[in-house]
Structures are given as structure tokens and as C-alpha cells.
Amino acid sequence: MAELRAKTSPQGSDPARGSLIGKRIPKMDAPDKASGRTRYIHDINLPGQLHAKILRSSERHAKIVSIDTRAAKALPGVHAVITAADVPWQRPIGVAKDHLPLKTDRVRSLRDEIAAVAADSVEIAEEALGLIRVDYAPLPVLTDPVAALAPDAPRIHPAPQGADGGPSLKPGLPVAYTGKPDNVAMVMEYAQGDVAAGEAGSALVVEDVFRLHYVTHCCLGVSGVIAEFDPSGNLLLYSNTQVPFLHKREFAELLDIDPGRVRIIQPPIGGGFGSKLDIYPFEPIAIFLAKITGRPVKLVFTREEEFLASPTRQPVLLKLRSGCTKDGVLTFREVETLHDNGAYTSWGATTPFVMMQTVSSLYRVPHCRYRTRAVYTNNPYAGSFRGYGNLQATFAVEAHMDRLAEALGIDPLEFRLKNAQDPGEVTPQGMHFKTCGLKDCLRTAAERGDFLRKHAANRARWSDGDPVKRGVGMASMLHVGGGAKIYPSDGCGTILKIDDFAHVTLITGASEIGQGSETVLAQLVCEELGLPLSAVTVVNNDTDITPWDVGVHASRTTFIAGNSAIGAARKAKDKILALASSKCGDAAEALDLAEGCVVKKATGERVFELAKLIRSLHFSDKAELVMTTHYYEPPSVHQDKQFKGDVSAAYAWATQVCEVEVDTRTGIVRLVKVTGAHDVGRVLNRLGIEGQIEGGIVMGQGYALTENLMVEDGWVRNPNFRDYKLVTAPEIPEIDVSFIETMDGEGPQGAKGVGEAPAICIAAAVANAIYNATGVRLTSLPFTPERVYRALHGAAQPLEWNVPQ
């Protein structure tokens, strides 16, 4: 593992100005975290608190015949045992509102919540769970998403039966009440141009089928929540949510109370990665128990529960056809996918939103058609996970690009460059690439990774008899980098106050989830106000205090919250300089803020000490405070029903070159080196962005090589770190990252969002590298030793697209 060599762009920071931009700024929360002082939700205990545990289904698909909770209720130390019957007022949750927190008549997957206990201790709650008797009447189990489409497949969400035994369809109500006539949870279709015409004009057409597997977030801090009601019925939640304001409203709806009566406090969280974008049943259940017992209720998962009952990345079967001219210009692309939705619908079902962007717009494709069906099965249900479908889409598109290049006899780099987007392009899907560093990314990663030479040399070694082969592969990606307007607003609010000692309190709607947002926001404010980082406190964890924000997702926080913070800081600066101007007579435009003072812009001469100036305002007859607010709404648009529109204010690009070693005797693939080039707009905090990219690369490595949540016939076979293999320290590759600074015009100081980008390319680049090493193309993830060995020795089953129309 060599030193990370990051290129310093000529457009980088100006050291003469003492700018913080582009520097290596340690995270503000790091000292507390490194000393074990940080209090995560697991570390918080409220006076009078009870501990809750959930009884989950032992069946994959069954009717609940009866639940007997009498023995559990009689256990000393048990305060409440609840089932759906105890909360008849509960409401459906999830993206499609297709399930109730506590299941009523049937269970549809192993994780399904049947009953819950609140007790004096975790041990008593667990003992009580063991005393609850549930009688099930098993139903046919459906775990194959292809079979789910068969006309005679068992229905996962049949219409609930009414009292008369007939169907109780209630039109206009959520799926949880009405049922679904078939197993299709969601269909998303997109089209541009005329695919038939594109195909007719193709010299070459290639079709591939890919299969993507289950992985899960594995946040080191397990899920948890603490719920408490005050005597007036106001709800206080200590929550790990990544979207506090959306959830505040959803919890209020669940409880049928005014959202103003829900307050969410977010303790620091032990990892997010998209896992906390939806409400999951455990949260309402804790709230029910708190309401029923009148006590604070804490509910924390075990690791096994975390594997069984937290969301996964969506498994996908994907068929991809593309064509190109004999000169290697893409003519059309057609993608169809089958998403295994699991028993219920969470954000995983909506990942086509991102997948189709990669399909339509990573390269210039004139004609394109995309279709996804997400089907219900009795498997675990999938949520959102860093990259949001883009790991799946990019794996397919970029492996397929190598196949096309090979069929054409063009090298993979040239083929990509030929079709890559340029700045200024508006794609048929409506995305406007105001800045676009894709070609720079391609060239830089290829050059620094010595791609062309190695690519040719490795192929020449296919039959040299050495059992250990080397391979190199590349993949590129496109991802939103300026927010994503999936709601009518993609905005973020900031409140900024500067106190009498020129100390800034930055109150932002944007949550810190470990990625370093509070540090980068503080940095952006310091840049405007000429203050050191030590002059800023960030408040970002309490919905009663912080202004509205959509949430931490879509790599949006630096961009959206950053612009919001800059806006608030500029308003404060304007106010300060206007005051200074009135006192010293110089025009406000001729003044600036630097090093805690008002200075003359031209000479840097100090005019006022900032703290003194502010005090003079505060304690004058004007008696004014320097306190500003700003709401930033990016200039993106909510896509139309055809999924067209410029959904993000900026787009991030990257190319990663992966080098692997394949032991053909064992099938073990070692990721040796990753050379990445990332269009990040501009580097704000070099330490932070390196951390995001390195962490993302290793997460992508896990997706490609080691991680596999084994779901077999609806059973989760490996709900533990022993057999769900995260990458460990000795396995990491050498990492070389270059930053392509395209200075996005809308970005804060030119930056784009980058949180998800680094994980996206790895699996595709590794697949291409394995092919380059061995001549064998793998189309199913992950590339575990046995799968690779089978493929190398002709013992793999080819993937087929046998999905009914």
C-alpha cells in the first residue's frame, strides 16, 4: 500500500489568503470519538427507561392463527407485551405503505414483527419473548422473483379478508389494507429515442445477463431508538435517522398528532450508508410501547437482528442489450431488470431512478429503453444503500462496455472515450452536465494505472502456464453530485449566529453521519467569515432547533447544506461589513473579513476586531444581533412522470482502474491496486474526501469480492460477521486517487457531492480485471473463490433471462 498521491490542481486553494479550502482538516468530532467519549444511542439511558425486544416470525410465509402472550405478561419485570391487537390504530409504513409495524393476520418473511415486550431489563424482555406462543398455519413460500411473476404464483399481498370471509377491498387506501392483485410491487419504465431504429443502425449488438446479490450495510453501531412521551403526549425520539424532518412528519402521521409535537434528537450514529432513510417497524413499535407504558423505551438490535431485520441492497437480475456502429459509436441500449422486492417495499424498489441515469447518460446513447419490475417474495426486503442502485447498474453497464469493446476490437479506454459525455451536454433524459470531468477521469486513471500496457501484457499471459494471473480492468461512473430532487424540495436551511466574542454557532438541518459534514460546513463558513475553525460550533441534531433539510442521502450534504451555510455566512458578512463601513467610512465593498478582523480588501490592513465590532452593535442603541438564516434550494428540477428532467444541480464522475491477482488453483481473487480519478468539482477538505473515497473503495471491494448475505429459500444463512465477510485491514488494496477539479459553478467553492461515488465502479472494474487476467467473464456477484473457481473450470451455470414478459 503506497502513499496516496493526490494531485494538487492549479485551481486549488490559495495559501496566501490563509484559505482552509483544500487543506487537510481533521474532523471536529474526531477527538471525542477517538477517546470513546462520544455517546451513541446505545450509550444513552434515560431515568425510568424500559428495554424493548421484538418477537419475529419463525415462518417465512404463514397465517397467524393465534398469539398467546399470557405467560410473558405474567413474568415479573414485564411492563407490556403488545401485538397488533393492542394497537388497532397502527398505520402502514414503508415506501408503498404495504405493511403494518406489528403484523396482523399473516407473516411474509422471517423478520416479520409479531409481538413486542417492554421490561425492566433486556434479559427479562428476552425471557418474555421466549414465553410468547404463536400458532402459524404455513402458506406456500415464494422466494424466487421469477416465479413470483407466474400467473399461479402464491400472492404475497392478497386482499385481506373481511368479516364475511370475502375480500375487503378499500379502494384508495394503502396496499396494507387493499392488498395487491399480483406480486408486482412497482414498475418503472423509461424510454428515449427509437430503440428499433437504433438497433437497425447497429453493426454490432451484444446482449448480457447479470445477477446482483444481497449485501447489507453492516453499520458497526446496531440499530436503535429511544422513545418517550411527556404527560401532554408530545413525543421525543432519540433516533439514528438520516432524514429527521421527513420522519418527524411520518411519525406524527402514524400517531395522528400534529408534527409539531414530535421532536427528534439524533445522537451521533455508528454508520449510516443509506440504511436509515426509511422508517422500519422497530421504531413505531418502540413508540407504541412508550405510549402504552408511559415510560421511556429503548430498543436496540443485536447483531443477528441487524442482519435479519435491517434493509439490504436490492438483489437484481438484469438483461442488457446494446449496439454500436463499426466505428464504436453506441447506437442504442435496452435494459430490463427484475428486482427482488422482498416481502415489503422500501427504497430499494425505487433504485431504478438512479439505475436508468447510468443506463441512459453515463455515455451518449441516442436510443434507450429501460424497464424494472420489482416483485414481492417472501425474502427480506431491501432498502437504500450507498450508491442507490448504481453499483448494480454500473456493474452491468461497464462489464458490458468491455464486451462491446472486445467485440469491436477496440481497447476499453478508447471505446469509452469515444462515447463519453462532455461538459455542456444535455442528455435525452434531461440531465445537463454543466461540468463533466469524465474524459479527464478516464485518461488520468488509465495513465496512472498504466492501464493500456498492463491490459495488453496480461492478455498475452493467458496461456503461459503460471497458475497465478494478473488482470487490470476499468470502470467509470456517473452519479448525482448536486443533490437529487426526488421530493418537490431538495433544500436545506441554516441559522447562523455570531456572538459577542465572534464565536459562530452554525445551526444546520444537515445531519452528521460520520462523513464529516459538520467539519466541511464549518470550514465553508470560516472561509466566508475569515475565522479559524475553532470559532465555530455546529448544531445539527435536534429538530426543535435545526431548520429543515431533506436528509442525508444522494451525496447531497456538502453541496446543498454547504451552499446553505455559505448563504447564511454571506448575509452575516454583509451585515458586518455594512456596519463597519458606517463606522470607518470605507465602502463595504472595499472591506473584508480575515483572521477575526474587518480588514481593508486592498491592503489587508486591520480596521476593527470582529468581536469588538459585534459587541458595539449588540450593546448600542440599535441593540442588534448578528444572526442570519438562509434556505438553499438547488436549481434542479423534480423529474416528470417520464423520468426526464435535470434532477441534480451537478453531476459527479469517476473512473477507477482495478488490478487483481487471480489464483486459478483456488479461485481466490486479490484486489491489488485501485487507481481512481474522481471529478469532485473541487477538494474542500482533503483529509475528509480521501477518507470518503478510500472507505467507498473498500466497501466496493466487499461488494465485489467478499460480502454476500446468503438468502436461501427465505432463510438468512449467515447473520453474523463470521460468515458475512467484511473486508479486513490486511486485505485492502494499494489506493491511488487523483482529484479532477472541474470547479462546478453552482457547487460550494466549486465542489460536488462525492459520498457515494467511490463504491460504485469497483465491482465492474474487478470483473473486467478478472477477464483480463483469465479470459473468463463473470456475470454474477460476488466473486467469491468458489464462484470464480467454478467459472474458471467450466463448472459455472450460465445465467439466463427467463423472466416472463
Partner: protein, 287 residues
């Protein structure tokens, strides 16, 4: 899981008395018992006995060509021992692949043996080293011990010939002759922190292009870690050429009964035993 009594005896004598008196869950490192009991996979007996405080049940000593390793010796202590590193290097190699530093610091050799996992990391090298286990009990007021080869001690996954009133007190390993060659292979993508899909131990003396005193053992391809007598016989005293290697690999193929589980299919395990044994023999030839 109501534990009526916890005890941490100081002497073997005391521990054996407690064992004789009734159902006891003994533990040393606790690294297997704790998670298994917390997950409800193992029911703890009313008496929980911590063996770690027993004096004289640790330590590594060499006497008359036999290395005696106290059952409470941790993996880290094994790795720190000069005699293990220099004379029983195959055991050292296996310890190096064992879990993580934290688990090597807690896990004991006796515990790894009594846990009797088919994939137990130390079992393969111990079989190669012809290790014997010493079991102690106190039936009539006097400590009695018996010694038996490890191969006879292991019965199946989690099952051994240890009687409930017995404790595994020590492991004895006859010092291999000078120049003994030992190699351990564990299939996995990580250096450690991995349950092996298969493991292989090979021990032998080089003698003019031939291997003598050949010992081969496999992990995770049968209900217990096993010795491969037929493969050993194919190699014993023969010139180690390609034909002999082929014959040994073919013999090994007949001696293993790998199952399919979530870590690997039986087919793949079999392929790996053959491929890797071949590689190890080729390495041994060029050694």
C-alpha cells in the same frame, strides 16, 4: 439458563472434585462458550467453572524429546514460544492463521481441541505432529490420568471421548527429528479471522529426494480433522516425482468426505484438497 454457582478453582484437584460432583460447564478462554450460550445454542449447566486460574495447567516444557503444553496455554503464548516456533513450526503457522490477536490472546489450545470443530485451526498441525492429549479425573479421591492420540480423542463435530468428569490437562508432542519439514495451508481470502473451508497439514523428513515419516492431515473435509493414511503411504519413502504426487493426491481424494455448507460446496472442498495438496507436495519437493 440459571447458573447456581460460579467457581474458579486454583488447583486441578479442586477442579476435578467439582467436575465429579455434577453437571458443570467448564471454560478457559470462554471465546466459544460465551457466544454460544448467549445465543442459546448451548445450555449452560448449573455450575460454571472457570479453569483459567488452575495453577500448573499452562506453560510449555520440553523433556526427554517430548514437548508438554498445558491445556490453558493461549495461542499467543504458543506463538511466543521458541520451541514451538523452531521445532513445531507447523503449529506456529496454524496459530498465525487463528482468528485475531484478541482471540489468540484469549483462546487456549485445550479449548480449541475440546471444541472439536472439524475446521479447528490447531487440530490439523497437532495431528501431523502425532500429538497426544492427557485427560485427568479424580474418581476415587486420587487424580488419575490417561493419554491418548488426538486422532482417537476426536469423535465428531463438538464431540470427543472426554468423559464429563474429565479435564483435558495437557497436550504432549514428541519432538520431530531435526530437519522435520512442516507446512500448513488454510484456504481463505484473509490471513486470519476466517473459518477455514479446508486446511491441510503436511509433515515429513527429506531424505535424498524422498519423503520419510510422512504425515498428512486435513481439516473441514470430514466430521473431524483427519489424518490421510493412504496418501501418506503413497508418499512414504518414495522418490517425490510427479507420479508419486499424483498417486498421493488420488489417495487423498478417497479419504475425505467433504460436505456442502454455506462456506463451500463438497465439490469445491474436494477440488481444493487435491489442488492444494499437490501444490504443497511440489513446494516440499523444491524445499
Amino acid at each position: 439458563m440459571t447458573i447456581e454457582r460460579y467457581c474458579a478453582p486454583r488447583t486441578l484437584d479442586e477442579a476435578l472434585e467439582i467436575l465429579r460432583a455434577g453437571p458443570v460447564s467448564p471454560f478457559a478462554g470462554g471465546t466459544d462458550l460465551m457466544p454460544q450460550s448467549q445465543a442459546g445454542r448451548v445450555r449452560l449447566a448449573p455450575v460454571l467453572m472457570n479453569l483459567r486460574r488452575i495453577e500448573g495447567m499452562g506453560g510449555i516444557a520440553e523433556n526427554d524429546g517430548v514437548v508438554r503444553i498445558g491445556a490453558l496455554t493461549t495461542m499467543t503464548q504458543l506463538m511466543d514460544s521458541a520451541v514451538v516456533r523452531e521445532r513445531l513450526n507447523i503449529l506456529w503457522q496454524a496459530c498465525d492463521h487463528f482468528a485475531s490477536d484478541q482471540l489468540r490472546n484469549a483462546g487456549t489450545l485445550g479449548g480449541n481441541i475440546c471444541n472439536a470443530s472439524p475446521a479447528g485451526d490447531t487440530l490439523v498441525p497437532l495431528l501431523v505432529l502425532d500429538a497426544r492429549v492427557e485427560l485427568a479425573q479424580k474418581p476415587n479421591g486420587r487424580i488419575e490420568t490417561r493419554k491418548l492420540p488426538l486422532a482417537e480423542f476426536l469423535l465428531g463435530p463438538g464431540r470427543t471421548t472426554r468423559a464429563p468428569q474429565e479435564l483435558l490437562s495437557a497436550i504432549e508432542i514428541p519432538l520431530p527429528a531435526e530437519g522435520f519439514y512442516g507446512a500448513f495451508f488454510k484456504l481463505g481470502t484473509r490471513p486470519a479471522l476466517d473459518i477455514s473451508a479446508i486446511s491441510i497439514g503436511l509433515g515429513a523428513l527429506h531424505d535424498d529426494g524422498c519423503l520419510r515419516s510422512v504425515r498428512i492431515a486435513f481439516g473441514a473435509v470430514a466430521p473431524t480433522a483427519i489424518r490421510a493414511a493412504r496418501a501418506e503411504a503413497e508418499l512414504e519413502g518414495r522418490l517425490l516425482d510427479q507420479d508419486v504426487i499424483d498417486a498421493a493426491v488420488q489417495a487423498a481424494d478417497t479419504e475425505i468426505h467433504p460436505i456442502s455448507d454455506l462456506r463451500a460446496s463438497g465439490w469445491y472442498r474436494r477440488e481444493m484438497v487435491c489442488n492444494m495438496l499437490r501444490r504443497m507436495l511440489e513446494d516440499a519437493r523444491s524445499h
